[in-house]
Symmetry: C2
Subunit: 401 residues, 2 copies
Amino acid sequence: MKEIEGSITSVQNFKASSVSCGIKKNNKKDIALIYSTKPSIAAGVFTTNKALSPTVQVCRENLLFPVARAVTINSGNANACVGNQGYFDAKKITQLTAHELKISSQEVLIASTGIIGKQLPMDKIEQGIPNLVRELDENGGDDAAEGILTTDTFSKTATVEIDIEGTKIRVGGIAKGAGMIHPNMATMLAFLTTDVVIKKNILQKLLVEATEKSFNMISVDGDTSTNDTVIILANGSAKNKILAENSSSLKVFAEALGYITSKLARLIVRDGEGATKLIEVYVKGTNAQHEAQSIAFAIARSNLVKTAFFGEDPNWGRIVASAGTAGVSFDPNKLDLFFGQEQVVKNGVDCSRGRKMGIKNVLKKRDILLTINLNSGNEEAHVLTCDLSLDYVKINALYSS
Amino acid sequence: MKEIEGSITSVQNFKASSVSCGIKKNNKKDIALIYSTKPSIAAGVFTTNKALSPTVQVCRENLLFPVARAVTINSGNANACVGNQGYFDAKKITQLTAHELKISSQEVLIASTGIIGKQLPMDKIEQGIPNLVRELDENGGDDAAEGILTTDTFSKTATVEIDIEGTKIRVGGIAKGAGMIHPNMATMLAFLTTDVVIKKNILQKLLVEATEKSFNMISVDGDTSTNDTVIILANGSAKNKILAENSSSLKVFAEALGYITSKLARLIVRDGEGATKLIEVYVKGTNAQHEAQSIAFAIARSNLVKTAFFGEDPNWGRIVASAGTAGVSFDPNKLDLFFGQEQVVKNGVDCSRGRKMGIKNVLKKRDILLTINLNSGNEEAHVLTCDLSLDYVKINALYSS
């Protein structure tokens, strides 16, 4: 597997674009399009939030169609909590895009991110879509990566190339942040492209697995949004022999997909609102994988733990206390805890004496590995999170709509 | 039911005291004692945290003994995450107290709050306990209320008097805060006294019920501690006819108990770290009570909602999005939402036009009622929380141990 520069349009026969249609202020790009010049298949994973955006509903419906060609994404407005009008507006966007592209509206997938509770400015979107289609370009991936952002501070892109039985196959991706984003939302969006030849049901299975291990293993502030969406389009342009189930070739492709989703997930946490540090919570030594995961998430969600990391405070008692809230039984007297390579707790008791400086140096870093070993079994889990800073509160509170 | 000034020693035949023994700096009171001059019975409810303090373990064991006479509480050190030594230290405290009071060590209950991961300074505690017993006073309730505090900014006390078949009965209580308290903990402690004559198993049942509706319905930052403890001592001095199960007299007493626990719970939220506002999340119109409760807690735990309240931002989209994360299905198009008496959302759609000033005025208040009606059933839940302020982060991060 080779990582290369680029994103979604580094994959054969994909074009992308982004323009400003006036949803956001100051002529910022606020609508983006991803288009496969050849018929492609698609798979998607969506938010479990019960106050679902109608955009997600329409996207799910169209995903049932065997062919997909395009994804239209608007930023600046989530099309959520707007009553039934939201559904008609989402449908309309697929129709407008399909009309310009001369394809079926069922071949158009869709995503929205931005303020909740306001209707989409459909007049502006209607005027914008023809421009959007006109701007489609085989180098447009970075434009699209920019057009889907809200308060993210940088674009998030990743591309890899793999070789399967002599055929070069690429997977590219773009994403936007999950930082419960200023002013009103939390949306995590990711769009992936690939030229692999694969069956739709297998692609869906792989995307679910890759999402479980990446986007579902990050926590910025524990909230999920009304609009979270991960979509992949596969247009088969690589002309490889179709990937058979349980084959080694499929495994190679799954690894490439996993690499892209994990890299984008990491970039999202890095860009969490106000985040100054990326913290990898590594829980090991449990009897069941779900136990390790529950404990890791309990720690990653704890405001006390996250503020302590912001303050570079070696406050391991908070971490153990958070672990204890996960509903998983463990023996505190067998617990070991490390900041980086520095062991701080051994058999449940502080063992940091004489190494305060070394520990301080770990906590000063921008990337911190926190390891908790419960010394009870062989299962483990990794969860990524960020610290909780003064800027998080400033960004989210001092804004007034 | 009549609310009166006072606390735990406003109840007949209870004494209390608090002294400084040197666990905390600057001669702050750090050990407290509650003592019934007559044999009493006790009931207790404890944290569900799996990294339990051995203090809680010893307290639970002694609660099995039919008689209880005293509660010794230290603040400044949680006696948690210190290995097996913590158990011996907790036992030792019960023995030292019992020796001075000339009672059995099994009659001594115990609680600790403070820093996690450091052994108790037993030499100081050993020297302090004789003073503590010497200082016991029938007006010592306020001293004890002060001695159990950590970073709380005020003492929390409550007392009521009820009349059961012509007999006056009192219930008093003191508590300390749940604000995941500076620097290392989250402990919520409450100690109640009463002179009622009641059976131990019924007292336990009533305490569990009262706790469910009060201390378990507050959320400061979603964390539970290694040491959370609620204890009640009942010494029977009122000489009422023993309260029979399902009697109206029992109901009157249960209401008094519920009043005390609810008042103390409210004071705890009011004093949450950095809190500037008390927010009552009232969810109604669900099909099951647990659904209302899950949604109310999802909202009360959301950092985005809490920061928005801090910023006095009428950001209802975040509230609906948080409600959607509770795992409870509901129709967003039937949802109504109110800030105070001001309706902001009707049938899932913003209806606030023309009333921005009225809404702003509600959000400026120190106490805010947030009502969400899902218009689906007749069940409801109330959860108390506070806002998430810049001071919360400052208190919890900028401290460095």
